[in-house]
């Protein structure tokens, strides 16, 4: 295979000096390339691994009162499992919702606002949950 074949030899527009490599280095319209795609996979695999421990934790908490639940959720290993799961969820759901927004919201201004709201929501929910776990773990 020649270098033209392997790197694509589509005719370049006459009024541009940009090479295909130059376009690639800009990493597309969002300038972040496939990082969101990859992060979506990493967080998906993380949650697949964490789901079993998380289910066990939730089963342990069923039917307990606040004192019992607080003691379990505040123990170091369980706090860690829950925090990891919450971080993975927040990143995963932020990317997922952004894809949905980009697919269905046609108006550019509304798209900007909803993507921003999506970021705020994901970060706020995750931080609120993590803060609660920190509070339980520190026993204050």
């Amino acid at each position: 295979m020649s270098i033209e074949e392997s790197h694509g030899n589509a005719p370049r527009s006459a009024n541009t000096m940009r090479t295909p490599m130059g376009k690639v280095r800009k990493l597309g319209a969002a300038h972040s390339g496939t990082s969101d795609f990859w992060r979506q996979r990493i967080t998906g695999v993380a949650m697949t691994l964490l789901i079993l421990p998380v289910i066990v934790v939730i089963m342990m908490l069923l039917g307990r009162n606040q004192a019992g639940a607080a003691q379990i959720l505040g123990s170091p290993l369980i706090s860690l499992i829950m925090i990891l799961f919450i971080i993975a969820s927040a990143v995963h759901m932020k990317i997922g919702m952004q894809v949905v927004i980009e697919d269905y919201v046609q108006n550019e201004k509304l798209k900007l606002v909803t993507i921003m709201a999506n970021n705020f929501f994901s970060i706020a929910v995750a931080l609120a949950a993590i803060f609660a776990i920190f509070k339980l773990a520190s026993g204050v």
Binding site: R41, T48, M59, Q66, L73, M93, G96, M97, A128, A129
Partner: protein
């Protein structure tokens, strides 16, 4: 001044005969959206636990009510389905399971598996004494 480029358009969804994989692709997205807003429940529950007995009792009153149980059952199914459907996507990402029969089999497995796991988890939860 930018001029509109006339690119060929792909036919819209309505043109195609409905297939299982198509329907389940939408279900994957719908369960994802449901789980997105469901995180509010998780956060509420954790914050209530950190806040104290009165707040936690409010959450338990909700989760113990029939509407609360219904929401949680739906949440469990959405999570289990999205998990199995997601694993199906990982298999496709790795380049396997694209043959017609494999595609169908994987999709049925996610659908049936999601419902089965949900029922199983609730049976375990009740046998462990939810109403304790």
């Amino acid at each position: 001044m930018t001029t509109r480029i006339e690119r060929p358009l792909s036919p819209h969804m309505q043109t195609y005969r409905w297939s299982l994989t198509m329907a389940l692709s939408i279900v994957h997205r719908a369960t994802g959206i449901a789980l997105y807003f469901g995180t509010l429940l998780l956060a509420w529950w954790l914050i209530a636990c950190a806040a104290g007995p009165t707040n936690y009792a409010t959450v338990q009153a909700f989760t113990g009510s029939w509407i609360g149980r219904l929401v949680l059952f739906g949440y469990t199914w959405a999570l289990m389905h999205h998990l199995l459907s997601g694993i199906r996507h990982f298999i496709w990402d790795l380049g396997y399971g694209f043959k017609s029969a494999d595609r169908e089999w994987l999709t049925w497995a996610a659908l049936i598996g999601g419902v089965t796991l949900t029922v199983l988890l609730w049976v375990v939860a009740f046998s462990m004494g939810v109403a304790r």
